[in-house]
């Protein structure tokens, strides 16, 4: 699944059938190349949906078993990862050598586990296991020698 198509998807509480919010962004842990949670656009202050509290990331909606799955950021690192400035879309992708790999247009992930599969730029489909860092300026990748432009 791609994060661009998954944004704005409704988050539905399956015990009440109510929409509790909409997917606003993805909390990405670069070191492990996985999505640790969702930033949810809600009416209240609870905006973080940890990945392990998801019932399912479905094709039409994200489901949770009850509304308590949503909470405020738990710690400073989660607070940092929930910063909209860390949205990967539009970030520069660079290799640790300083060479440019294009501008990130989308990120492919496994909707079951939250593991990132690939980062897509206009030039490359970059394997997510090479991801070293995601900051306010760039996504940094380890040596991708041998990768040919998509």
């Amino acid at each position: 699944m791609r994060i661009r198509e998954a944004r704005k998807r409704p988050v539905v509480n399956t015990s009440t059938a109510e929409t509790v919010g909409h997917v606003d962004g993805f909390l990405i842990e670069a070191e492990t190349a996985r999505i640790t949670g969702l930033r949810v656009d809600t009416d209240g202050p609870a905006t973080i949906l940890p990945w392990d509290r998801l019932a399912a990331f479905g094709p039409d909606a994200v489901t949770v078993a009850d509304a308590s799955a949503l909470r405020a950021p738990a710690d400073p690192s989660e607070q940092r990862r929930s910063d909209p400035a860390l949205d990967p879309i539009g970030k520069l992708a660079i290799e640790e050598t300083g060479n440019g790999l294009g501008t990130v247009s989308d990120v492919d992930f496994d909707p079951d586990s939250g593991a990132l599969r690939a980062v897509i730029t206009e030039v490359y489909e970059l394997p997510a296991d090479k991801l070293l860092g995601l900051g306010n300026y760039a996504m940094v990748f380890g040596d991708i020698r041998g990768l040919t432009p998509a």
């Binding site: 660079i94 290799e95 050598t97 300083g98 060479n99 790999l101 070293l132 860092g133 995601l134 306010n136």
Partner: protein, 163 residues
């Protein structure tokens, strides 16, 4: 990707950490005039209203230099600018504008840029770009240089720019 880089293309280049944060932009390239080697970079704050920063990036703390960024491990890669500039001034600080002379005494021209091999860690100087009196630019590999001083670069042979 093993293309050589010109030091003159680096000012304005972002300095980015492995975590993807932009720390600064390259302001100037600092050379060791005694050896012709690169000592590091002075820095500007990133962005349009950029100001000179009080810290600098020594070459030994550079992780990679490419066409998109100068990469460092983290913010600790930056040192006080005095540490870099004192080292540079002690030895004279710039190889640019040095005259290039052959061993036979012919003046070849003036050093206008320095060519780097970014695949070497830290990136090292592999040659000089020299502009002759007639406006032509030639590249002289560093291994062809006999000696570099604070005043000039001496290269082998009789190569006469006026012939």
């Amino acid at each position: 990707m093993s293309a050589l880089l010109r030091a003159g293309d680096l000012p304005g280049c972002p300095v980015v950490t492995l975590a993807g944060e932009r720390l600064a932009e390259i302001k100037d390239v600092v050379f060791d005039r005694g050896s012709g080697d690169l000592l590091g970079f002075t820095l500007n704050d990133p962005g349009f209203f950029s100001g000179t920063r009080s810290d600098a990036l020594p070459m030994e703390n550079v992780h990679g230099i490419g066409d998109a960024a100068v990469v460092v491990a983290g913010p600790h890669a930056l040192v006080e600018v005095d540490r870099l500039l004192t080292a540079a001034e002690r030895r004279g600080n710039d190889v640019l504008a040095d005259r290039v002379l052959t061993e036979e005494g012919a003046d070849v021209g003036e050093v206008v840029d320095v060519v780097l091999d970014p695949t070497h860690r830290p990136p090292k100087v592999v040659g000089y770009e020299v502009e002759a009196e007639d406006g032509h630019t030639i590249t002289i590999p560093l291994k062809g240089a006999v000696a570099v001083s604070g005043e000039r670069l001496v290269v082998p042979g009789r190569g006469n720019a006026h012939s």
